[in-house]
Amino acid sequence: MLNRRQFMYASAASGLLSGLGTLLPAWARSASDGNHGLHPHTETEFDLTVGTFPVRIDGRVGEATGVNGTLPAPLIRFREGDEITLNVKNTLDVDTSIHWHGLLVPFQMDGVPGVTFPGIRPGETFTYKYAVPQSGTYWYHSHSGLQEQEGHYGPIIIDPNGVDPVAYEREYVLVLSDWSFERAERIFAKLKKSSDTYNFQQRTLPDFLADARESGFGAAWSDRAMWGAMRMSPRDIADVTGSTYHFLINGHSTKDNWNGVFRKGERVRLRIINASAMTIFNVRLPDLPMTIVAADGLNVQPLEVDEFQMGVAETYDVIISPPEDRAYAFVAESIDRSGQAVATFGPQAGMRAEAPALRPVPTLTMKDMGMDHSAMGHSDITHEVRTESALTREKADHSKMNHSAHGMPGHDMGDMAASDGWPIEARPVKRGPGVTKVNMMPISRLDEPGLGLENVGHRVMRYSQLRSLDRNPDLRAPEREIEIHLTSNMERYMWSFDGVKFSEVKEPIIFHEGERLRVSLVNSTMMPHPIHLHGMFFDLVNGGGDYSPRKHTVIVKPAEKVSFDVSADHVGDWAFHCHLLYHMHAGMMQVVSVLPSDDAASMQDHKTMDHSKMNHSGMGHDMKMEGDQ
């Protein structure tokens, strides 16, 4: 693998002066520094050293915390099913950890201090060993403190054992991230002291006058009054913004211009990973459509789009094929439009595509507050999604379903069952200083492209369009449903689930091994939250029937209710949290305990199920569950 010392000591000093190329692992370099695409080369043993090291970003030198002296960290590439060994040495003077994001590892290998292991002490080497039954694009990062913000993240590619259904002639990994020269602890402290510290996109008096000219004084006034009465800002879109962040693609800012080569007509696979601490990105290549072929590592039915919004911690694989021999921009724009990172693809190394101007800052609407009554017009979608029951799933004739790229799958699900037919468990939201509101009338927004992308004039991916390439492995209906509210007080910068911060949690969310259940997330905040469940893929309830997309992270939009079905196959304690780092750090986190079925208490609920057939050991983190019902 990579020789850390070579990077740390030989290259660092000269590299900082001469350029980024020599500081970075081969996969993260530009074409102008010799990267003409990845070479599929898998290994089974990796030595990773966590430490601090100098980095040069946007021409300025800062100190990063990360792995093997590079930002991003080395690419870990191995083959599906291989048992791999990862020796992680901690040279920091504080604890560290590595979490393998999206990998179905045994829980004691999941790398979350205080949940799945004690953490890696200074000077200690922890050896992770596992085999996983999956392939695709994933990533890894620290789950200790705020190290992830400071550079502790890297990509993972798992090559499939069999034939890859996605054909391509060249591939690149694009790790998107946000970097600040402020220390992460400082950023968090500033948010706690004054939560709008980084927001330089509030509505101003001149904005008010412009609105008044456009839509009348009365309308502009009542709009301001409505937001003011709620003590909410319609420009509260990102907590940490381009005012401190430098947005990066493979460690390169726009100025540093990461560039890749491709030839006209060539099929190029981009493995895109949003490894940001806080930044939801809008991803596009102006004039070049993308065909999404995988989401969160797993293959999806090809979907051609021009843009998609990408939550923190999501991964998407897309195929691009340039029709002309010219430079194309790859743009990762922050959701609040406070900044962007632009890279270039072109026929020659070193080209620089013209960066598009940042688009206008989006403004939240009353719909985001859950108060738009005209949104009730969408309740048909909500209803469809909510009532997609076992009956429907078993009966539905999937051959009738429209899986084409531009279909509206939410609307052709066929017949609906009258009721869900399973009990819904919702803990009462703990009201108090940490919760400014509880959304009682959530809506489905799976068929929306995401904040600011409603009227961009081209095709933007919606979650409702995603379809798994493979049939879902577990087609059982859920036996029960858990409803969880995402709650906050932006003023106090408090974030929680059901009004309970992680520090206040007295009991975890219980799943029983072998059960199939639905989890519904209701967003009672004004922000989109990329919610991540460790240890298991979930089937997003998006109208996809037996071909629902299987994900590990899902964005829950403001005022939205998102549901996913999950099979509790993997016993253990698993972290469950918002992947916006400072939201998690403020308390938006829980633990899902999957209790073994031989636990007497857990058996009460599903005596009828035969779990003996299920394999829970080692490689038994098997995605292909036998539908034992």
Binding site: F107, G114, G434, V505, G587
Partner: protein, 269 residues
């Protein structure tokens, strides 16, 4: 009337301390671990320590802030005074220890006209409001201690408000109320109207204070946030004594109302 207020006061303090016992300090997570399946693979003691650490660091950390809301020179035709109004807090989301101080310094006399400090326990009682209780000591114009019961928060329409009742060691009850609003002219240029109103429940002749509304201050400040944490400003402020208090001041031959130009800085860290 005074005994009633005193009784209410004591009740309020009592309620506050019960809150404090309920909500302050870190919960002890060690006795019944909410999850412990990893204990089968790792040393349970190490797991317990890591669990306590991760819980504490995801929602229960304490922070502190020092803020000089106003550090300014007020200038009228007659006088030039230095004014400060600052606070410092330390604590978690719910409970914070507050130190507040404000006062006036007359440059001509080379003396403090007013100087006070408050030490308060601040407890979040709702999403936007904190209840605050503690003690205040006036160094000038004369040494006097007060018990304090107040509130601080964000009212609808983004008005930052705070108010408090003060019961002095002489048994005098006074109160004040303050409201600020921020009007964004640009992202960094901010116009801030501010009003402060003081009241007294009784005549306090030795302090030239009459019963009823005693003073009002109204001002407009225009600040420029070079950084969020550092903003110089200019402004205008009007001070006026009211009612009986105005009569006292008039009797001593001073002006009851005065306008000032203001130059200062607002800063926090």
């Amino acid at each position: 009337m005074r005994p009633v207020i005193l009784a209410l006061w004591i009740m309020a303090l009592g309620v506050s301390s019960v809150y404090a016992q309920e909500h302050s300090g870190h919960e002890d997570h060690s006795e019944s671990a909410p999850w412990s399946q990893a204990d089968a693979y790792f040393d349970p003691a190490e797991m317990a320590a890591a669990r306590a650490h991760v819980l504490h660091h995801n929602g229960d950390q304490a922070f502190g802030r020092v803020m000089l809301n106003r550090a300014e020179v007020q200038m009228s035709d007659d006088e030039e005074i230095g004014v400060w109004d600052g606070s410092a807090w330390y604590g978690d989301d719910i409970n914070r220890l507050y130190l507040k101080t404000e006062g006036e310094y007359a440059f001509e006399e080379g003396a403090f006209e007013e100087a006070e400090a408050q030490l308060l326990w601040s407890h979040a009682v709702s999403p936007y409001f904190d209840l605050q209780a503690g003690a205040r000591y006036d160094f000038e114009p004369e040494g006097r201690a007060h018990a304090v019961l107040g509130f601080q928060g964000l009212a609808p329409y983004w008005f930052e408000v705070d108010g408090a009742l003060y019961l002095s060691d002489e048994g005098d009850l006074t109160a004040d109320f303050e409201a600020e609003y921020e009007l964004l002219l640009t992202q960094r240029l901010i116009l801030q109207p501010r009003v402060e109103l003081a009241m007294s429940a009784q005549d306090i002749p030795e302090l030239e204070t009459g019963a009823g509304f005693t003073n009002v201050q109204a001002g407009l400040r225009l600040r420029y946030e070079i950084r969020r944490e550092f903003a110089p400003y200019v402004g205008w402020e009007y001070h006026s004594a009211l009612g009986q208090t105005a009569d006292y001041i008039e009797a001593s031959g001073d002006e009851t109302g005065q306008a000032y130009w203001v130059v200062g800085i607002r800063t926090w860290f």
